[in-house]
Symmetry: C2
Subunit: 399 residues, 2 copies
């Protein structure tokens, strides 16, 4: 059955900051709305680690990010589809976005392994890149798979997220310019093919939108070329890839400075894989509407919990290591300005004890707090944009 | 500061079954009430694994069980006390009970280790039992500790649970009668000393009750002797120990049949370490008011989830292994008669996926369901006793 394509998908800018490119807007999808800027918690395998959908609602999340690579391998897109798509499968009635699978194919394929103390060698090649697509081996059982733009779109249609991403190649960091150009050109070809596949096939009863992805590594001319190319295609939104693999925060800012002038203002912009406090301010300042990142839950599981300004600052990266013995007798909350369930009900001392005892509740409370912290920081930034005090707020947090 | 001892502690029988020893009652402690029979979730290290106190309230738990041995080693009773006692430390405003530490000292001290495929040898002796008390090494860092009745009571007073247990020796299973008698006699001496320590020392600003523990292994005359001895002491309640270490369910029933006639009817009776569906019915039938067990959360983490009659029965032990591939596409809830959050919001297929992906949410949902299942099964048994249909309900469940 063919349905109207993304007839509901819509992006509206509500307020623009008059000193920066920051903007507050609203994305409307088949399932509801996302008030932007918005942080997108990552639920790699159809679960945001340790969190229930109810937790995510309480936290204030409006959209979740799933990973096509992982869901394809387990439980498989046909299983997810048979349960009614990604949202229904995981019990989440909000909005969803899936990536194309490309990032995991490449990043897991290029994993290095230690041979001796001093030597590193690339693992038996798990990935084989061709112009048509990518052959790779499952990190679970070694089975051989192929992703092409058409295959990625087919899988994502079955997963049924509100927003899908075009298949792209995220080149490793650092890449020589020659390689970065070749990867970008493949990404452009694959973008055209992703769009074609997107428009030519059934919607499986749900309505979806498709974003194109800007690549080009750390090379200004490539990034500009990519921004122009992707912007000229009829995507519903634009994602910017390849900035989370870099090593410096300056590179992320540079890339955003280069590409932003060439992106269509009326389309939502998603930044892939970014989620630290200062990066969030810098990205929003450069016109980013949504971003996803595993940092809140991953850091949470390691006991790295976010703290707000002024206790939190660039030097301590807005976080403390709650496992440290200095917190064992601390009767204060993780963050004294936070209204989350963990901060309202538990002490640093207790959570320190939970981590030292490797208790499941440790990971749960720290992940909950970190997600609440980041989701609500972005909500507060949105309010600041609406009230014309974005730079004032940014200054208070990161100077 | 010396306070009135357990002035608030009170046990009232509300209804007795007229065909069995089953009874519905109410324990009143300093913190509130426990409607009995009641299942007591175990929070070994000041956390019921994976659960928040809010979850436990939702589930309907009224009392939690903490382990003195673990809390003494980490974070230490002085730390717990400085946070306001066990309940405040873990954010739980309901009732609490702590054991004496004896069970863990002995069970961890007697751990066997595999030497070869066929040989077993007792590990370098971690425990040294004397008439005065027990010397043991921490399973965390090997440090040397001594528990005496006085020390156990001092620790438990600092932990501040509503109900404490006298220090006892839980003899290994099987024990020769001679050893079982010696251990029982030590337990009796230690019971007298526990009571004396309980009455002679400060209450640290909270009011607590103390239960004595009946031991005696699998020997009828010893169990009867122990039941009489402990019943004659001015304890607030009676616990029955050493039945969870046996190998057969018949032994548990036998022990309860032997001791029940000698227990004072007006004191609450706690059965230590029991928590399977059939055992719960059998124990309540024999006059048990409360029991604790790690089974709901431990089984939950292994993916063994409880199912109700008639799908659940003695043969399948009222549980399924949700990890099995047969459940991968199952769109039903874990248990179709269950009203818990996990059963109302997620499918067996999804939870199967979470287990296969080793996701934290798997352990959380299965633990939540299992606790809800057992706590509410016992609540339903209570209703059945109040309405004069205990045996009818028992027959429906276990024939």
């Amino acid at each position: 059955m063919i349905k109207m394509q993304n007839s509901k998908f819509n992006f509206k800018i509500i307020e623009k900051d008059n000193k920066t490119m920051a903007r507050a807007g609203r994305i409307t999808t088949f399932h509801g709305i996302v008030n932007t800027p918005a942080f997108t918690p990552v639920g790699t395998k159809a679960t945001v680690k340790g969190m229930t959908p109810l937790d995510l609602k309480e936290i204030g999340a409006e959209i979740l990010f799933g990973n096509t690579y992982h869901l394809h391998l387990r439980p498989g897109e046909d299983t997810v589809r048979s349960f009614g798509g990604l949202g229904k499968f995981m019990g989440w009635d909000g909005q969803t976005i899936t990536d194309s699978g490309g990032f995991q194919v490449f990043s897991l394929g290029q994993k290095k392994i230690k041979i001796t103390e001093d030597e590193e060698e690339t693992e038996a090649k798990l990935v084989n890149i061709k112009e048509d697509g990518v052959e790779f081996r499952s990190h679970i059982d070694g089975s051989l798979h192929t992703f092409t733009p058409e295959k990625s779109i087919e899988i994502q249609k079955k997963l049924g997220a509100d927003i899908m991403l075009a298949f792209d190649e995220c080149a490793p960091y650092p890449s020589a310019k020659e390689y970065a150009r070749a990867a970008m050109e493949r990404t452009h070809n694959w973008a055209v093919r992703s769009l074609k596949a997107f428009k030519s096939k059934d919607y499986y009863s749900w309505q979806q939108a498709l974003y194109g992805i800007v690549q080009g590594g750390i090379y200004k001319d490539l990034r500009v070329e990519s921004a122009k190319f992707i912007s000229n295609l009829p995507f519903d939104g634009i994602a910017i890839g390849g900035v989370s693999v870099g090593e410096s925060k300056k590179e992320m800012r540079d890339v955003l400075d280069w590409v932003s002038p060439f992106l269509p203002e009326n389309k939502p912009r998603h930044l892939l894989g970014i989620g630290e406090v200062d990066d969030i301010f810098e990205a929003i300042e450069r016109g980013i509407d949504t971003f996803d990142c595993v940092i809140p839950t991953r850091f949470g599981r390691y006991g790295m919990v976010f703290i707000s300004a002024p206790e939190g600052n660039l030097k301590n990266k807005f976080r403390i290591d709650i496992k440290k013995s200095v917190f064992a007798k601390d009767k204060g909350p993780l963050d004294k300005n936070c209204n989350c369930y963990a901060c309202q009900n538990f002490t640093r001392g207790y959570i320190n004890h939970l981590f030292r005892s490797s208790e499941l509740l440790a990971y749960r409370l720290a992940s909950y707090h970190n997600l609440y912290f980041i989701v609500n920081l972005v909500k507060k930034i949105r309010e600041a944009i609406l009230e014309g005090r974005f730079l004032e707020m940014k200054k208070k947090w990161i100077g």
